[in-house]
């Protein structure tokens, strides 16, 4: 009895330690205070482990990426959450869809706000994904070894447009009905399989109940599933292709000798356990991380704070827009009387303007050639120079062609939006 007994694990202390134990069973690392913990945090957290432990300083330069890819992804998250919430009240029926829109406005808590957020995020995603595509092109980032990820990106852009297009029909108002009537008719002009695609999309010979149900299934199940898979591939390949593109001179020159010295055990001093071994193996046989000078910084906190900042700005912008502006809702569908002029959403107005000259060339021919050129870009433009710099002079030709296409499309969009009146006649907006 004279010996001091070690503190007994009583039920009380177990209870008192419970929060700490639960916490440490979920988060195996404390908030990092040294480099080892910083890297371990990136490894052990499910949501962080798709990030590298260290990230190149060039990738963090706001004026290099403008965070456009991240913003696109965050908009997709906002769209997923708000979309799932809207599904609780929506019925894909020609009898009910429009009334449900009015219900969202009148009798559902936050109904207007959620619909606004969904609509403005959708518009925003189309715009930002397109700007992201422009950024990647104008910095030459589609070049080797990122060719295939560029292709995945172009597919993601098309999927975004198709998502937006299928969502457009769901409110079942005049705008929706006639935009989809015109859009599916454009598909009908595709050679050979056009009529079949049109019939499959509409589930009949005209836009009606079957078309509404089909567009709903595409919008809430089929396309989101494909989009999610493609986003996963897109992100995975960013890592496998060596992170974001950067100019050749972004890394300090290291002589071969220095590299070899860096991995040769020095005398009898035992090598410290290599923490980043697997990271090194990915790129080659040498474990050179931490031994030679590089321009990287730890992802915790540099990258993660940047991502958090981007997310907060994106969400705030969408919230402010949704509080200030209401998503439009026109008259319910009247299949007998198209509005005059009947206009598609703004990002398809360039297409509609071209279609007013020739349905095949405007709707299928020119857009098809543009998409094929985009897909083929990294395989046609094989020059290794000019990667990682905006408007590099080495890529003058490619950039000029690209900007010409973009500006032409923007001009068509502006004409279609502001300069077209009744019967698609040319009018001046002032």
């Amino acid at each position: 009895m004279s010996r001091p007994t070690p503190p007994k694990a009583t039920f009380l202390t177990t209870l008192m330690d419970l929060p700490k134990n639960v916490w440490s069973s979920i988060f195996r690392n404390p908030l990092p205070s040294n480099d080892l913990e910083r890297s371990a945090t990136s490894f052990t957290n499910f949501f962080l482990h798709i990030h590298p432990v260290k990230v190149h300083k060039n990738s963090l330069r706001p004026t290099y990426t403008f965070g456009l890819g991240l913003i696109s992804f965050f908009l997709f998250l906002i769209l997923t959450v708000s979309g799932i919430l809207l599904m609780f009240y929506y019925v894909p029926s020609t009898q009910q869809a429009y009334d449900r829109m009015l219900d969202l406005r009148g009798s559902v808590a936050f109904g207007t706000l959620l619909r606004n957020m969904h609509r403005w995020s959708a518009h925003g995603m189309v715009a930002i994904v397109f700007l992201h595509l422009c950024r990647v092109f104008l910095t030459g980032s589609y070049k080797k070894p990122r060719e295939f990820n560029w292709v995945v990106g172009v597919i993601l852009f098309l999927l975004t447009l198709f998502m937006s297009f299928t969502g457009y029909l769901l409110p079942w108002d005049q705008l929706a009905f006639w935009a989809i009537t015109v859009g599916t008719a454009i598909a009908g002009y595709a050679p050979i399989i056009g009529k079949d695609i049109q019939f499959l999309l509409m589930g009949g010979t005209s836009v009606g109940q079957e078309a509404l149900l089909r567009f709903y299934v595409l919008h809430v199940a089929v396309l989101p599933a494909i989009l999610t898979l493609m986003i996963a591939i897109h992100f995975w390949r960013i890592r496998k292709d060596g992170g974001l593109s950067r100019p050749e001179d972004a890394d300090p020159k290291v002589s071969l000798e220095a590299m070899e010295n860096a991995v040769t055990p020095k005398g009898s001093v035992p090598e410290p356990k290599k923490l980043y071994g697997f990271q090194g193996l990915v790129r080659g046989p040498l474990t050179k991380v931490g031994q030679i000078p590089d321009n990287t910084v730890f992802s915790w906190p540099n990258l993660f704070l940047a991502e958090l900042f981007t997310f907060v700005v994106t969400l705030s912008a969408i919230l402010v827009l949704s509080l200030l502006f209401n998503a439009p809702l026109e008259e319910p569908v009247n299949a007998l009387h198209p509005p005059n002029p009947a206009k598609a959403p703004w990002y398809f107005l360039g297409l509609q303007e071209m279609v007013s000259y020739s349905a095949f060339w405007g709707g299928i021919g020119v857009p098809g050639i543009f998409v094929l050129l985009l897909l083929g870009t990294p395989y046609l433009d094989r020059g290794p120079k000019g990667v990682g710099k905006w408007f590099s002079r080495d890529r003058l030709l490619a950039n000029t062609i690209f900007i010409t296409f973009v500006v032409a499309n923007i001009i068509f969009v502006i004409i279609g939006t502001f300069f077209r009146g009744a019967n698609w006649a040319f009018v001046t907006p002032w």
């Binding site: 008719a185 009606g208 198209p338 009947a342």
Partner: protein
């Protein structure tokens, strides 16, 4: 023993075993990818409707007396315009051949509000992006005396049903 192992591991490119193995590989691949392809096609067969639930393509529009001579009656729900001149009857489509909008009556014939196509009284294109004239549908007189229109059968423009 060692030689046999080498042979069966496929290093002898002239050996019968190698080509047989390759052949089996090709057949397996063809079987697997063929099945996957067929499954994909069957999905499209599934989503292609055999019966549509919309408007019937063949319907009657009333008795000839309902359309006195000189009538140009737009039956918007049916997507046709019934034209009667004297004893001649015709059904002209009012679905624009450009992108499927519903055309309206205009002084000179028909006009489309979507992309500005214009047609004359007989549906011929007089302006705008429409690539084809408005089709004429087969029109018959049913035994009960009603006019029957079949939108699945297009006839040459200008061929009227004479009463």
């Amino acid at each position: 023993m060692a030689v046999n192992l080498k042979r069966s591991s496929g290093e002898d490119s002239d050996g019968g075993k190698t080509s047989r193995r390759k052949m089996l590989g090709w057949l397996t691949g063809a079987g697997l990818f063929g099945s996957a392809g067929l499954s994909a096609v069957s999905n499209f067969v599934f989503i292609k409707p055999r019966a549509t639930y919309g408007q019937p393509q063949r319907f009657s529009v009333g008795k000839p007396e309902d359309f006195p001579s000189g009538t140009r009656a737009i039956l918007a729900p049916r997507g046709i315009c019934i034209v009667r001149e004297g004893s001649k009857l015709a059904a002209i489509s009012i679905t624009c051949t450009h992108l499927g909008c519903t055309v309206g009556a205009a002084d000179t014939g028909f006009a489309c509000p979507c992309h500005g196509s214009r047609f004359d009284q007989d549906g011929n294109v007089t302006g705008g992006p429409a690539p084809r004239p408005l089709p004429w549908f087969q029109i018959t007189l049913a035994p009960n005396g009603e006019i029957e229109v079949d939108k699945d059968i297009e006839i040459a423009p200008g061929s009227y049903l004479t009463l």
